[in-house]
Structures are given as C-alpha cells and as structure tokens.
Symmetry: C2
Subunit: 188 residues, 2 copies
C-alpha cells in the first residue's frame, strides 16, 4: 500500500537543492536526497524520473504561464503587447517568495555544463510556446517568432537581474526596466 | 609516420553529413564515416574528438566572425549598430555556397534531441561572445547583454529562413528584412 506523504515533492526539492549547493550536483545521490527529506527512494521516484528532474520539474506549468498571459490578453493588440502580457504573467509566477529557490537553482545549473545544456533547451522551448500562442492570436511569422524570442531575451535578462545578490525589486519592476532599455536600444 | 591527407577534414565532414542524413545520426559510426571518405579512423580522430564534433567543429571561428564584426566597426556607434556590424560579418561567413551544407546540418540536428541541446548551448555561447565584444566597445550592461541577445534572435530567425527550401536571397538580405520587422514590432 502506498502511503500518501503530504508535501513530499516540495520536501524532496528543498532537500535536493540544499544538497546540490553544499555538496555538488554530481556528488549528490537520490539516496542522499530521500534521506535528507526523511523519505524513501521509492517516494522520490514517484515524483521525479531522475535527479535532474528535481531541477526541471514544472516546465510545462512554467511555459503555460507565459502562454496563458498571451491567450488571456485583450483582442487586437500588437505582437509586442501580447509579449508584455506574457511577461506580466511570468512575474506573477515568480513571486518574491520563490526568489531564494531560484537563486540557488541557478547556482547549481551554472556550475554544471550538462545542466546548462538542458536549461538552454528549456529556454528554446519557451520561445516556441510563446510563438505558438502569438500565432493563435493572429500574429503571423516571422513576427510571431521574432516577438516571442525577443520576449524570452527580455525575460531572461530580467530574471538574471532578479536573482542577483542584493536585488530587491519585483520581477515585474525589473522586466519593465529591461523593456525600457530594449525600446531605447532598438531604433524606431 | 603520419601521412598528410589534403582536405581530409572537409572530406570527412561531407561524408559524415551525407551518412547522417541518409542513415540517421545515431546509426552512423565513425568507421562508416572514415570508410565513406576513403580515410582511416585514425585520421578521423586526428580531426575530430568524436562523431558529434563533425557537426560542431569551427564554433570558435563562427563566434569570432560576429565578435570581429563588432570590434572592427567604427567608434562611437550605438549598441544596435554594433550588432548590425556583427550580423553583416556573419552574412559573409555564411556565403551562398555554404547553404546546402547548412540545410543538411540543420535537418540532422532537428531530428536529434541531444544535438538540439548542444545547438542551444552554442547559441547561448554566441550571445555571451557578442555581449563581451559590446562591453569592449564601451556598451554597458544590461544594454550589452540585451543588444547581443536580441542580435542572436535576429540572426537565428534570419538563418532559419535562409536555409528554408526555395529561399534564394542572401543571408544579408534576409537579415535586413528581419531587422526591419524587429524595428516595426518594438515600440519606440
């Protein structure tokens, strides 16, 4: 009989991230993670296919946040205003209480080339997802792809700043600053 | 004694790409590639660390083209004009005679998730390289990063169109069109 462990997934994620930061991602085993969370390996594998998935779980939900931002925006906007709606939605997803987790996660990823490859691919998938939503709203290519990819650049730039040590502004505030810089850089 | 094989590297690359397209990347062995090129495996490994490197060799030269474009541009330009200089240099690198190779290479990469991860990372490295060149020209962050990443988006969008079946314009012409779309999408 499988016993339900309330909050097991979150406990495993928190324990894993602490172990990755302290002892290194490669050196940490699933056994270590389960033990630190006070759970069994079997419970771990009910929630995650492997160790790497602790860092990449929720990717579909993450992309859906941006996509829903586009799909729930008013009709008749320009491509870039749909992207703004996606960025606003993303800022809701990355609420201030998520910042410490995001900071630690990035440290682990930056230290491991294989994780960086996976993270790059995740970013590419985000661009595809937003471009698809823009097409659903009637934006044609190449504008849909271009606006989506530019939005990902803005998001990534803002996110990197948001998790910088000492940064206290919300993600929405940082995104707004980056959008302002973009419009200043790109000639009319 | 090592016998010098003139053009061995290029012969291996052409043979490998044809085999990857016809028989699949996973199914093709280094032995197959060497045999198809009329060379030995030992010669293969003098030029490439492994099978994957046939597709990713020359990455440093590729990045250097964009970087040199920025570094050789006139003084005192805005961030975006330096990026334009990088894109113009890249269009020189991807001359029309390179297009059939680029088309085949992309087909192989698109069919293989592990190669796509590597390609995504290559794209991230390009953004880093251009951002570094912009900083050398006096552009501050976040503008340097933002302009560089936006330039990579423009390049990638243009490149994807350039290798589309039936596309006959030069990469420079397609880049110009994509730049025009970008300036139309991003509000002043």
């Amino acid at each position: 009989m499988v016993r339900w462990e309330p909050g097991a997934k979150e406990r495993l994620q928190v324990a894993a991230l602490d172990l990755f930061v302290e002892g290194g991602y490669e050196q940490t085993t699933v056994q270590d993670i389960a033990a630190a969370a006070g759970l069994t390996e079997r419970t771990f594998f009910r929630h995650f296919a492997d160790k790497r998935e602790v860092l990449f779980a929720g990717g579909a939900e993450y992309r859906a946040t941006f996509v829903d931002g586009v799909l729930n925006a008013p009709d008749g906007l320009g491509a870039f205003d749909y992207v703004r709606a996606a960025l606003t939605a993303a800022a809701g997803f990355f609420a201030p209480e998520r910042r410490p987790w995001s900071r630690k996660r990035q440290r682990v990823i930056d230290a491991n080339p294989a994780l960086l490859e996976r993270e790059s691919l995740k970013r590419a998938a985000l661009g595809e997802a937003i471009a698809g939503a823009l097409r659903d709203r009637g934006v044609q290519d190449p504008d849909a792809r271009l606006a989506a990819e530019t939005g990902v650049v803005v998001f990534h730039t803002a996110f990197t700043q948001w998790i910088a040590e000492g940064e206290e502004r919300t993600l929405l505030e940082v995104e707004q600053e980056v959008l302002d810089r973009l419009t200043a850089i790109v000639p009319a």
